[in-house]
């Protein structure tokens, strides 16, 4: 019958739309380059979410279009009413239970990713991060420098090593965000916050203040350099000798808030 045919066509069109949606979700470059272990996990989570969302969105839009196409008022129906359907308990239980299960499984998966991303590794190095209007400074403790603690405007971290950032603020709230790592946390006056990352890709990536901190907020930017272990040690040494050589300018003036 006519209704059955239009249902079949609608289902086929919807499946095609879902297919195109999922294909697009692979084609679109959603994120900046993933430069950490955590980023790879988060991106996979995002992709799962997108793939789970596409059928739901297509379902809603298809249902609207199907109903509009089949049940729109035609000339002569100005005084006609629809079918007096008040509900269907089975259907209502179905669309309460299925989304609940789906949502709980997704949130469960997100906890797995969260746990994986925040897990404390056997070995990690700690670097201090301090936000103030409108600059970031970074503190390398004795354990890393081997000599005097180092305060720097530049952030170098070694690749393939777990780094925990200990984040502080001197004035208002800032947020220490590295989009390439997919990680951020607020720098809050009075407390120390943190996140840990294992950078996996060499390169230089933006550090962005992502919480409104005043008129200079948009320009409160910095960069993180992911370098090899050898290069990292080299850089630490060069910084230490520069500091010892008496060039106390620049970063040293920022002081240590650790």
């Amino acid at each position: 019958m006519n209704r059955r045919r239009s249902v079949t066509i609608t289902v086929i069109l919807a499946l095609i739309a879902v297919g195109i949606g999922i294909w697009l979700s692979y084609e679109i470059r959603w994120f900046p380059v993933a430069a950490s272990k955590q980023a790879v996990n988060s991106d996979r989570l995002y992709h799962v979410l997108v793939i789970a969302s596409i059928p739901i969105f297509v379902l809603v839009v298809t249902a609207i279009l199907f109903n509009v196409w089949n049940f729109r008022m035609r000339p002569g129906e100005e005084l006609k009413d629809g079918a007096p359907i008040h509900g269907n308990t089975r259907l209502e239980v179905f669309w309460t239970a299925i989304p609940t299960v789906l949502l709980l499984s997704l949130v469960g998966y997100s906890f797995v990713v969260l746990h994986e991303n925040e897990k404390k590794p056997a070995r990690e190095i700690k670097i201090g991060v301090t936000g103030q209007q409108f600059v970031w400074t970074y503190q390398y403790p004795r354990a890393l420098t081997g000599g005097a603690p180092l305060n720097s405007y530049e952030l170098y971290i070694p690749r393939n090593e777990s780094v925990q950032f200990q984040i502080h603020s001197r004035d208002v709230i800032h947020a220490f965000w590295v989009p390439a790592f997919r990680l951020q946390e607020d720098a809050v006056p009075g407390i120390t916050t943190n996140w840990r990352v294992t950078a996996t890709r060499l390169g230089t990536y933006p550090v962005i203040c992502n919480l409104l901190c005043g008129a200079g907020h948009s320009l409160m930017r910095s960069a993180v350099h992911v370098v090899s272990q050898a290069r990292f040690q080299e850089w630490l040494k060069s910084q230490a000798s520069a500091a010892a050589g008496g060039s106390s300018g620049g970063a040293a003036a920022g002081g240590s808030a650790g």
């Binding site: 995002y46 005084l79 629809g82 359907i85 990713v113 009075g190």
Partner: protein
């Protein structure tokens, strides 16, 4: 002249407004002089005077306008004026500019006032988009830009979405439940006049030294503790807007509980009434929290309380918890009445009963309950204790279930209906599509590792605009078109309405859709400039947003010309069953000449002979029964 000064009204209001300023001047002077500020320079502090004046002057205005007259007369033991209904109804345009106790007048006051602030708020957004059309532009300064988005958000939340729903509710609820007015008409009148006060105060902050409040509508401390005096305009304006919200919500609750017509049981209430009942519960429970958060800021700023000064043992994160304990439920305060509107529009325009009426009502209550358990999902990256994220993520995911039930029920309501695809229905259908997208991105944001990346980026901006523009504003347009004939007695122009819908729908998606992507790619929100890689997308968004703004002009033109000269509307142009359509358009001053009796559900479309309410036959004139005994023995 003296009589005019003594009578309640704008003139007395202006005088008492000035009185408030003078009071603030002397109060701060006396206090500062008596607490050790020795030099003349210290006696008089602009910030202190401003802070006190912002509270005293508007209160003076409201007293002068007559908002408190009745209670003052009563409290001081003077004779209260007998209720002669002289303050009721509007006969000239002047009646809209005074204390008016008619819920229909107040509803229109609310709605028109809200739309004025929508236009202003939208204009501010377009100034922002002009600045963001290219990176590094100097259309406005960074500080002004921060002020623009802060005032934009504050106006549209506190002066548009929340009050416009209260306005539509004010007009429609008493009519829908068969009541002659709201339970507390004087409180209702006062609650309206708090709104222009709050809105003008927020806008006035642009003229404060140091510029408008510039730390977002969230006003996170310590930034707001140390910001220039413009911040106080926000903190105080929120008190006025919040007080207005609470008064109206109490009024709605009492009206709905106590003033339903005979036979109007809770499960015969139209879903708009249910939605406003649920919203009012949220408002009365949650709104005191934002009032508190802003009082904390005021006390910190004005009197050095150090609530949020970490150096003195203050707790910075506490502000965010208190703030979001209101501001998350506020998202539902801004959405549930819209759900109600959509239920009305879809039932009438599809000519069908609402699918699963009881579940629709229960899901509203479920949202009220769950709405209080999710606030910290705004704080996943705030540095709060890590474990709080886990339960909040679960509740955030679960709160999508009742919302999903509503979406699916509306879709099922369309099935086998006879869909009239006119302007209100188009907005309702458009709402279903865009709000679903906003809901999906909302569920994604419950997933903590993903939220950690996109928190405070343009992805959030996209999400909130899909929910508030694609969600709330679409429902508001649907509701305004739907009840326009009832409120004005005129029909709007259907052709312009459809143009308005399609332009809004297309450019809304063109404006806010791409924001998802630039957010994922790493563009932070609330920035006056950005990395050049986002230049193309931002230019596109800016152009789309100007078209979106322009599409609103069609709406404004349609409303104004139709109100002045549209064709006369009949009492029930949509053939609706709910009670507001059973009276003339616009309704009589006291709504119902005869008390309606409700005998069935509100949406029994398609059932032959079904009615929702009937009007009792007019009372038999007493003289007939008394005079002729012969006529009496006819009764059954």
């Amino acid at each position: 002249m003296v009589a005019q000064l003594k009578a309640p009204g704008m003139i007395r209001g202006a005088v008492m407004f000035l009185g408030g300023i003078v009071f603030a001047f002397f109060l701060t002077w006396v206090i500062r002089a008596s607490t050790g500020h020795s030099t003349f320079h210290h006696y008089i502090s602009g910030d202190a005077i401003t802070t006190v004046a912002l509270m005293a002057a508007p209160l003076g205005f409201l007293v002068g306008l007559g908002g408190f007259d009745y209670w003052f007369y009563w409290a001081s033991g003077r004779k209260t004026r007998p209720e002669d209904h002289s303050g009721h109804g509007a006969y000239t345009w002047r009646d809209y500019f005074r204390i008016n106790t008619d819920h229909k007048v107040i509803g229109i006051q609310y709605t028109v006032n809200s739309f004025i602030f929508l236009l202003i708020g939208g204009l501010l957004a377009m100034l922002m988009r002009a600045q963001l059309a290219q990176p590094g532009s100097h259309f406005v300064s960074a500080n002004t830009f921060n002020g623009l988005f802060s005032v934009h958000a504050s106006l549209l939340i506190f002066l548009f979405i929340i009050p416009v729903f209260a306005g539509l509710g004010n007009y429609v609820i008493p009519l829908m439940i068969g009541a002659p007015d709201m339970a507390f008409p004087r409180l209702n009148a006062l609650s309206f006049w708090l709104l222009p006060v709050a809105g003008i105060m927020m806008l006035g902050s642009f003229f404060a030294p140091g510029g408008a409040f510039a730390d977002g509508w969230t006003a996170y401390t310590p930034l707001s503790d140390t910001a220039p005096v413009g911040q106080v305009f926000f903190s105080v304006a929120v008190q006025f807007a919040g007080a207005s919200s609470i008064m109206t919500a109490l009024n709605f609750l009492v009206t709905i509980i106590t003033m339903r017509a005979p036979g109007m049981s809770f499960f015969r209430l139209p879903l708009l009434v249910w939605a406003n009942f649920a919203t009012s519960l949220l408002v009365v429970i949650a709104t005191p929290f934002i009032a508190a958060s802003q009082f904390f800021i005021l006390l910190d700023r004005g009197l050095g309380f150090n609530f949020f000064n970490a150096a003195k043992g203050g707790d910075v994160l506490m502000y965010q918890h208190v703030f979001w304990f209101y501001s998350h439920p506020a998202v539902y305060i801004m959405m549930l009445p819209g759900f109600g509107i959509i239920s009305e529009v879809i039932a009438v325009k599809a000519r069908k009963p609402i699918f699963g009426y009881r579940m629709m009502a229960f899901s509203l209550l479920a949202i009220v309950g769950l709405g209080f358990t999710v606030w910290a999902h705004h704080m996943f990256t705030s540095g709060m204790a890590a474990w709080i994220r886990i339960p909040m993520a679960i509740t955030t995911a679960i709160i999508a279930v009742p919302t999903g039930i509503k979406i699916f029920s509306w879709l099922a309501t369309l099935f086998r209906g006879v869909l009239r695809l006119d302007t209100p229905m188009l907005f309702a259908l458009g709402f279903l599509a865009t709000f679903t997208l906003g809901g999906i991105s909302g569920v994604m944001l419950a997933m903590i590792p993903f939220d950690i990346h996109v928190s405070a980026t343009y992805f959030i901006v996209a999400h909130i605009h899909y929910v508030l523009f694609g969600g709330s504003l679409m429902t508001i347009f649907a509701g305004v078109y739907y009840w326009f004939p009832k409120m004005t007695g005129r029909m709007y122009d259907e052709r312009l309405g459809k143009w308005h819908f399609w332009l809004t729908f297309v450019f809304m998606n063109a404006t806010f859709g791409p924001m998802h992507v630039i957010g994922l790619q790493g563009m932070p929100r609330r920035v006056a400039t950005y990395a050049s890689e986002f230049a193309g997308m931002n230019l596109f968004i800016s152009i789309a947003s100007f078209f979106l703004g322009a599409s609103t002009l069609i709406f404004v033109y349609n409303m104004i010309t139709s109100w002045r000269g549209g064709p006369r509307a009949t009492g029930n142009p949509w053939r609706g069953m709910t009670l507001e359509w059973q009276v003339s358009s616009p309704p009589p001053v006291f709504n119902f000449d005869r008390v309606p009796t409700v005998v069935g559900g509100p949406y029994e479309y398609g059932i032959p002979g079904a009615v929702h309410g009937i009007f009792a036959p007019p009372p038999v004139p007493a003289t007939v029964g008394a005079g002729s005994g012969a006529a009496t023995p006819q009764g059954p």
